[in-house]
Amino acid sequence: MWGRKPRCVIRTKMASCSFEDVLAKAERDEAEKLKGITVSKELDLEFDPGNLLAFDKNRIDTREFKDCKREDFLRSLARDNTQLLINEMWKLPTERVEEVIVAKLPDPTTLLPREKPAPKPKPPTKWEQFAKLKGIQKKKKTNLVWDEVHKEWRRRWGYKRAKDDTKEWLIEVPENADPNEDQFNKRNKAKKERVARNEYNRLKNIARAQKIKVPGMGLAPTPRQSKAELAQAVNVAKISTASVGKFQDNLPKEKTPKNTGRKRKFQPLIGDFSSEKQKQLDLLKVMDSKKPRLDVTKAVNKQMREEDMESRHKNKKDFGKKGRRGKMSGKGKGKAGGKGKGPKGKGRKPQMKQGKR
């Protein structure tokens, strides 16, 4: 027992020494470790880890800067600032993604202006308004549909779809349809009409969304219409009532157009028949006669024209073509002569009239 005490005393003394020593040593070690990465600055930097941005507000000593060692000064300043930024980055939560350590960035705090203004919510389309009114919900449809014919899953619409109308080789003619009608053609036309109507409605929706004025029915879709087009549209609108515009009042200075309608003239049914009789007798006379009718002025004009063409071709300096032209002109001459003199007959309209048509 007597022997133990000093041992105890010594041990406690040693223990206390070692505790202090250990603590001191630990502190020194920590300091050593952090020495590498600590940077002392007057003012703390402002960090934005989301943008990998750091801002140092400290004053820069201009004296150091003015020396020739400008690059070194800048580099050391940069090194200090980067060290602080990296310290900040290493404080962020990390995770392991595919054998790589990755730090999750928070949202950036510096506000930067946008490129384009924020998109405005689009006004609802005509169908959407109606659906909202009636309470119709959108039904989620599956992407693929089972096709019994091919016994596989096919997409609902598009290339190689489940029920493809266009690929049918047989269409039954319905009972109330015309037997001579082309059903395939009918189907194609109906589809085209649907496509056109769809497109038209889509454009109307867009115009409504952007509040662009679109001209109504009967007018061309250009922004500027001519006076004649507008007048025609007004007239068409006026007679588009159940009583074909008979009871539509005119505007103060508007005049009802009297010459509308197709231009056809008929002789009266009752009255003097002598003119009609005369016309019919003349017709019979022409049909009976052996000699053909000859319109002298027309024949002369035609002949003159042929001669002009001929002279023009002759004046051309093309040697190669001359022969051909000469032949042609000969033919033409022959023809003209023939036409001028030969039988023309009634009813055959001369070629000159084609221009008028």
Partner: protein, 307 residues
Amino acid sequence: MTRYGFALKAKTRRSKRFLQSRQPKLTEDQKSSMIIRGGNTSQTVSQALKDVYALKKPNAVLYKRKNMVRPFDDSTALEFFSKKSDCSLFLFGSHNKKRPNNLIFGRMFDFHVLDMFELGIERFVSLRDVKTDTCPEGTKPLLVFAGELFETDREHQRLRSLLTDFFCGPRVSAVRLAGLEHVLHFTALEGKIYMRSYKVLLKKSGCRTPRIQLQDMGPSFDFVMRRNHMASDDLYKTAHRQPRGVKPKKKKNISHDAFGTRLGRLHMQKQDLDKLQTRKMKGLRKRRGEQTAETAAAAAKAPRTDE
């Protein structure tokens, strides 16, 4: 693409995607920049433009031809270019006797000029002259701004915002810690801006955070502030207006029923029901060579009853 006056109609899916990529979006992608040469450019300016283009590589367009444009007088040409190439940042380089080695940094909002800053190059060290290895293209750089002028002076504040916009890379949610290689350091002192670009070397230190050593890399500029055109306050505010909350993307094909079970939908291929294996019965296993009609029939029957 055909036009109906007010609506563009895309005739192919590719053109439709192209048009949609140019529409304004809730969260925007990275801004692209266009780098334009002016009527007369010196060797320094041309090299400087090429270096900045190398820094901003995937999201930048370098116009090779010279354009006689005066941005401060008439910015319609720049706006037209921006509309055509869908770029909202621009860098215009020119050189004349009055303003030698001129670079104009600028940004657009809704294809109209928002801010423009004219900086003159006093000293320039190109990428080619510094013969160290560079970091890969498209790394997001660390940006450091130093100098109290960036805080106190209004013009410097705008310039800081513009330079951040110009040089910060794409917006990312996470970054690889070992990949933080590039740092751009801007120092503002007495009306001059010093831009330096360094490669970051991460050295071992005692603890988890590494010790930094910097290596000279890349273009370094000494800029002097010349003219500027700053946007009015209300236009600046409009440009910063953010749209109301972005909804997180919904995963398709997942639905929940009343009991809280998660349901999805599978489209099965065609199965040959004759070869369907239900339960394994050891006794019915086919032995080599031995297979009586009865056992075969029994084997056929047993799975069917199990169904």
